[in-house]
């Protein structure tokens, strides 16, 4: 146990240091790849060992780890404060200072330091560890060749990769720590580490925009951190223990404690970029693709929803729970609507991430076993598909020099393999029998009882279809026989392939995942209410999988006929010039093919909509936190 945990949490730290200190590309390659492999194996091993109730690491060189963490905590806040001054961001300064003061009060005055087990893992944590370790590792590995090309593209004199991988790899360790933590102070520590890492990674390129966006990410997350500290204090006040497990078993406790829980959830909201805090995650798009992929799929934002989900028993059956559901559902709709107005591929991905996180949060708020199942399903499958999509977009961007989905129209012509993977990724995000949709399905069933949530879910899922379908469809195109396909480095192809296989294959395993991982947990003490299994019968999924798989097989076989068909151009009112969509226009001049999507700018224009969304989101948040009282 101890070995596994230290591998999962400390190995990344050591590897990160190795990357940072040994500035050689080959070593970095080796270290990152090996770390990735080891982490993945370790996470699986941990899963096989199953959940455990409590484990404390003991001491390091005679110092208690609790103490070390406390020291590190203040050190961390100090670093953040330093950046706050360096960047002259008043927000960061205020929020961090407040955190330092409150934390000191909390640590030195309020808390009675009784030993609390630092780690604990139920199946939710184990699942999170799997996601973080495996998907995160794949992303890091993908990052190796990617960053080489990226830097070549930027014409950097001196490579900044050691730093980059330092933060990237350490991130994984922090995430693992975060999801396994039981002591709330530890949780807080890891929470802050992820804030700092993301800040550094977003600002990695050092451009003006990058720095500005990184600063915004940091101040927002410091705000969240502040919420966390206050929430922690309030919650401690009520249950008088630092153990999260104890907090959860205690269930909802009185108004003040609930407000505390609400504030911790608020921290999770910020981290998960729920409206009105979505802007930091959108800003994070300036970072190199592996960063966005990491932030969006397996780390950072997942930490946010993880916290909300983790605390679910603590607010079950309260008004807070309902408001959380509404907040989440609102984020789901709002960001799906915002995504419709976008043509920037990464932005679409970002909005879709936020929107899906909203759905997860909504499920947490619905707080029935079915809803929790849905939430966990969504976390798993969203991570896989989204990382796949991000990596695809990154690859495509490096190849065609644009991340605009309009420029990806007919991409299949140029990059058949990558666009095929991307199309698959898109499909796994929105269609049955893939996991994300199963999650959505369960979410809708779970929400059927609460009118406002269901309306928002219904609207949101339709909006989702729009932006995915047009992207996926747009990438399809014609290839001439014999046209060479793209060639990419192995370390780019491999993660893409693995993720794609994962996205498709894992969906087939949903019943197994449900039966072995989720269901036991729901009947366990923390989350148990009466167990009504969801309608996710094994038959439905397997049958669907087989039927649609067969269908696809038939379809692709039929598609193979395409080359033997007579070639005719598209319908152009008869004015065709050739087969590529150009036509003979006015004055006998040739006019090239051009197509653009509908962005419905008058309805879904980003600026206007964002303003309304932010106002409504903020109002809902206030309602939520106030609702605790």
């Amino acid at each position: 146990m101890s070995n596994l945990l230290s591998i999962l949490i400390l190995l990344p730290v050591l590897s990160a240091l190795a990357c940072y200190i040994v500035r050689s590309g080959a070593v970095r390659r080796l270290v990152v790849t090996v770390t990735g492999g080891v982490l993945s194996v370790a996470s699986v091993a941990l899963l096989l060992r199953g959940s455990f109730e409590a484990w404390s690491p003991g001491t390091l060189f005679g110092l208690s780890w609790d103490l070390i963490i406390t020291v590190l905590d203040f050190a961390l806040l100090g670093v953040i404060l330093y950046y706050g001054f360096k960047l002259k961001s008043l927000f960061i300064q205020i929020f961090t200072l407040a955190q330092i003061v409150l934390l000191s009060v909390f640590e030195f005055i309020i808390v009675e330091h009784v030993a609390v087990p630092a780690f604990r893992a139920d199946n939710l944590s184990l699942i999170m560890v799997l996601i973080v370790s495996i998907i995160g590792s794949l992303i890091c590995i993908f990052g190796l060749p990617y960053m080489n090309r990226h830097e070549k593209h930027l014409n950097l004199q001196k490579t900044k990769q050691p730093e980059f991988f330092f933060y990237l790899v350490i991130f994984l360790g922090a995430m693992n720590g975060l999801v396994l933590a039981n002591n709330i102070l530890w949780l807080y520590f890891f929470f802050e580490v992820t804030s700092l890492c993301s800040f550094r990674l977003i600002g990695h390129d050092g451009t003006k925009v990058a720095v500005a966006n990184a600063t915004r990410a940091l101040w927002m997350n410091s705000f969240g951190g502040l919420g966390f500290v206050v929430g922690m204090m309030l919650a401690y006040n009520a249950v008088e223990t630092l153990s999260i497990a104890a907090l959860l078993t205690a269930g909802p406790q009185g108004a003040l404690a609930l407000t505390g829980v609400a504030l911790i959830c608020f921290a999770g909201f910020v981290k998960a970029a729920q409206v009105p805090f979505q802007s930091w995650l959108l800003g994070a798009m300036v970072a190199p693709t592996p960063v966005s992929a990491l932030l969006h799929s397996s780390t950072m934002v997942k930490a946010g929803v993880y916290i909300v989900l983790r605390l679910a028993p603590a607010y079950q059956g309260t008004l807070l729970s309902d408001t959380i559901a509404i907040c989440g559902a609102f984020t789901f709709v709002a960001c799906a609507a915002l995504a419709i107005g976008q043509s920037n591929g990464k932005k679409i991905l970002a909005y879709s991430t936020i929107s899906n996180l909203g759905l997860i949060v909504a499920c947490a708020g619905l707080n029935t076993p079915l809803a929790i199942t849905a939430a966990i399903m969504l976390i798993i499958f969203h991570a896989v598909s989204k990382s796949l999509l991000f990596l695809c977009v990154g690859t495509i961007e490096q190849e065609i020099g644009s991340r605009d989905i309009e420029d990806m129209r007919g991409l299949y012509e140029r990059m058949p393999r990558t666009s095929f993977l991307a199309i698959t990724g898109v499909l796994t995000m929105l269609l049955p029998p893939f996991g994300v949709l199963l999650g959505k399905w369960m979410a809708i069933e779970a929400a059927a009882g609460s009118i406002w949530v269901i309306i928002m879910l219904a609207l949101g899922s339709a909006l989702t279809v729009v932006y995915w379908a047009r992207w996926g469809g747009g990438m399809m195109g014609s290839r001439k026989p014999g046209q060479p396909s793209e060639s990419l480095p192995l370390l780019i192809n491999l993660p893409l392939m693995l993720l794609c296989i994962g996205a498709v294959g894992l969906s087939a395993a949903t019943p197994a995942i449900y039966a072995n991982l989720i269901q036991p947990m729901l009947s366990s003490a923390a989350l148990a209410v009466n167990t009504t299994t969801g309608s996710l019968g094994a038959f439905a999924v397997y049958g669907l999988y087989i039927a649609l798989g067969l269908g696809l097989f038939v379809a692709f076989r039929a598609g193979r006929r395409a080359p033997v068909l007579r070639k005719v151009g598209p319908y152009m009112g008869g004015a065709n010039l050739g087969e590529d969509g150009s036509f003979n226009g006015p004055m006998n001049q040739p006019v090239a093919f051009g197509a653009g999507n509908l962005y419905l700018s008058e309805l879904f224009g980003e600026q206007k909509l964002t303003m309304w969304v932010n106002i409504a989101g903020a109002a809902l948040l206030v309602l939520m936190i106030g609702g605790g009282l």
């Binding site: 269609l431 269901i454 047009r470 598609g559 309805l603």
Partner: protein, 282 residues
């Protein structure tokens, strides 16, 4: 055995019924326009003929998408007859809808590109309403499962009159009838020249046509769920609904999608919400 028969009905009988219905539709439409109209089996002839024609497609994705559209529609319809979960059926038919759009986007054809975008708007319009209608049915019957809905004692229509009206809106959109026939329509006299279907020809067009029959039957099936206690009344309800669709088709101009989005969302959401609240209260 029962399930085999039901699956057979869903897979084989349903499209034939859909085809005949399409023929009847054309016949009645003709009569409403004071024309004699084609024979009832005309739609079947059309599809058979299309299967015998040369297929033209811009690329393989189009062909794939046409097939998936058909298969998803068939699957959804079969699941319906197997009395499965309404939401599941809904999502499976959404596969078809999405692939139809993607197929239209796969080629460099401006008409089908625009058609695809409009089709997406249609999907955007009806999907939430359909989900809400299903939720209404869930609240009234206590389950999303069709077998449970069939077991309900009194006609759902009594509890869900507004939801049924919303459903007729969805039906109009899905049947591609005026005033919502802008992404494609049964007659090509429209600014998009059949929009999403512009680039399909021969057998591939036939596939989409058959898929459309499946969808028609599926939607009428959903309508039928509103009166399951008595066969006669179910038939009357279906006939009245379909005839109403035809009259609407023939007495209205085609509108624009901007109008549809605002109008149908406005009215549809309002009616669903009222009906939902009513169900909650009652």
């Amino acid at each position: 055995m029962k399930y085999v028969i039901l699956a057979f009905i869903g897979l084989v009988v349903a499209p034939l019924a859909g085809g005949l219905l399409a023929g009847i539709d054309r016949r009645i439409t003709a009569r409403l326009q004071s024309r004699q109209g084609p024979p009832i089996r005309q739609a079947l002839y059309d599809v058979l003929k299309l299967f015998g024609k040369e297929g033209l497609a811009l690329n393989k994705w189009q062909i794939i998408c046409a097939w998936v559209y058909l298969i998803a529609a068939a699957l959804a319809c079969t699941l319906f007859f197997l009395q499965s979960d309404l939401l599941l059926i809904f999502f499976v038919q959404a596969v078809g809808a999405v692939f139809l759009v993607m197929g239209a986007m796969a080629g460099r054809s401006p008409y089908s590109q625009v058609g695809a975008q409009r089709e997406l708007i249609q999907v955007l319009t009806y999907e939430p309403l359909l989900v809400l209608v299903f939720v209404c049915m869930y609240l009234a019957a206590g389950s999303f499962n069709i077998s449970d809905i069939l077991a309900v004692e009194s006609p759902l229509l009594a509890q869900l009159p507004l939801a049924y009206i919303v459903l007729t809106y969805i039906l109009t959109i899905k049947l591609r009838k005026s005033p919502f026939d802008f992404s494609t329509s049964h007659h090509g006299h429209q600014e998009l020249v059949k929009g999403v279907l512009t680039e399909y020809s021969g057998p591939y067009l036939a596939l989409t046509e058959v898929a459309h029959w499946y969808e028609t039957v599926l939607l009428l099936g959903v309508c039928a769920l509103f009166w399951t206690t008595n066969w006669l009344w179910m038939a009357v309800l279906l006939m009245a609904t379909y005839f109403l669709e035809l009259v609407i088709d023939n007495t209205m101009a085609r509108m624009t999608w901007r109008w549809m989005l605002k109008y149908v969302w406005g009215i549809g959401l309002a009616m669903s919400v009222v009906n939902l609240i009513w169900l909650y209260a009652g």
